[in-house]
């Protein structure tokens, strides 16, 4: 059990310290194309990413709500240990890294101090075939989460209405979610389904388009529309307000058109490991 807790603790540490390469590359590209004062701000972001790696410190003081996505193989021999190992792994990382304690009791206002509590860490489970287990950590910052939203649109407004809503929302969010952000969008299903899809869509790499062509086109359309507004890095004006848009859809009820927007700050943190049936652990991209 201890080996699994350590693997999770290391995963969480890596996630808060080391920004994925695709995100860093996108930020670099944005910086190169940018003018002042946004250019200076993006240089500062890149310098901060580098310093975090060198000093092995979290890249942002808000180390987020510990959120996990687990693909659990139905034949994975340690499946009964995974949940407890994730909870203990978060505790261990909180002390070791250290992480900022971010789990507050809704009723008493008391901070648990170790990033665990009711439903926290939050684990999204998916049962898959095989004997491997893939665990992804997504530490989700509060500033950008505060700019996430859901709206139940009237189906009559159609996809045009969906796009307009997303565009207007991202303009009003301005500099608050620490742009350049990544935007996850869930359309359809019910309220909960749309939000789950929106957040899960953030796991995709920057530049990775949805395999359905019509959705991919909508992603590109929104990416260019939001960036044309010129909100820019930190809301100070500039060409890159968002790094990418990732959309996913579910069939909807005839009476509903739910649209969920999950906003992720420039620190688009996610890291995954694969564990096989022998208990070997790999970092995976």
């Amino acid at each position: 059990m201890n080996w699994l807790i350590d693997a999770i603790s290391d995963l969480v540490a890596q996630a808060v310290i080391d920004l994925p390469k695709d995100v860093e590359d996108a930020l670099k590209k944005a910086m190169e194309n940018e003018e002042e004062p946004a250019k200076t701000q993006l240089k500062a972001v890149l310098k901060n990413i580098e310093l975090a790696r060198i000093h092995k410190k979290p890249m942002c003081q808000d180390t987020g709500t510990p959120t996990f996505y687990v693909k659990l193989g139905s034949d994975f021999p340690y499946k009964d240990l995974v949940e407890e190992a994730i909870i203990e792994g978060v505790r261990r990382a909180t002390e070791k890294v250290p992480l900022r304690p971010n789990a507050v009791d809704v009723l008493t206002g008391k901070n648990s101090g170790d990033n665990t509590g009711r439903y926290i860490p939050f684990i999204n489970w998916e049962i898959v075939e095989g004997s491997d287990c893939i665990i992804t950590a997504m530490p989700k910052g509060g500033g950008s989460e505060n700019m996430s939203t859901l709206k139940m649109l009237k189906p009559g407004v159609g996809l045009k209405g969906v796009k307009k809503f997303v565009l207007e929302w991202m303009v009003e969010a301005g500099g608050n979610p620490c742009p350049p952000t990544t935007v996850g969008i869930g359309i359809g299903g019910g309220a909960d389904i749309a939000m789950k899809l929106a957040k899960k869509a953030l796991l995709r790499k920057i530049g990775e388009r949805h395999k359905e062509k019509k959705i991919a086109k909508m992603e590109e359309e929104l990416l260019s529309a939001i960036n044309s507004t010129g909100i820019g890095a930190m809301g100070l004006g500039g060409k890159t307000t968002i790094l990418d848009v990732h959309i996913d859809i579910a069939h909807r009820h005839p009476a509903s058109l739910p649209v969920a927007i999950a906003v992720q700050c420039w620190a688009n943190r996610r890291k995954s490991i694969k564990i096989d049936k022998e208990g070997r652990v790999w970092n995976i991209d």
């Binding site: 004062p37 901060n48 942002c60 620490c178 044309s228 010129g230 930190m234 100070l236 004006g237």
Partner: protein, 195 residues
Amino acid sequence: MEYRLNLPVEEVEVKKIRVGDTIYITGTVVTARDEAHKMAIEKHDKGEELPLNFSEVAVYHCGPIVKKENGEWKIVAAGPTTSSRMEIFEYDFIERFDTRIIIGKGGMGAKTTDACKKFKSVYTAFTGGAAVLAANSIKKVKDVFWLEELGMPEALWILEVENFGPLTVTIDTYGRNLTEEVKNRARKVAEEIEF
């Protein structure tokens, strides 16, 4: 334009700075969030003595993570917090204390813009989330006040900084507010977009 400023800074220097300029500061910075703003204003109005002269320092909207090592306070992380929460206090604060430089993130509103014009101050944005970069230019925790009353994130942490920045000026002494201007332009662009 880029400026390197030493604190305390004179009114004449602050008036040179315009929105869009970048500044780096060296000197003493004090962290203050909602509660500290409120307490400072209340104490001042009751005629009570304050632990420092806010006109000589820069005020930083920040709730740092600080730990004690061998009896000394050490900054772990000190990125900026969202400034809009301080909007309800900032006019009264600047009016009473003549603080020349305010640091935060996300921009501030019309009342702060008004105060900056009237009392000659600037509001500047530090890169959101850049906690390691911030910690890197904080050389020393000089002192802390109101720690017991307000707790770690809300206390007044007196920090000695060197070339602290980049700080992008978004409100200057001429009544301009960059983040509001950017947002207004963005709204107009968005209105014109047809899907």
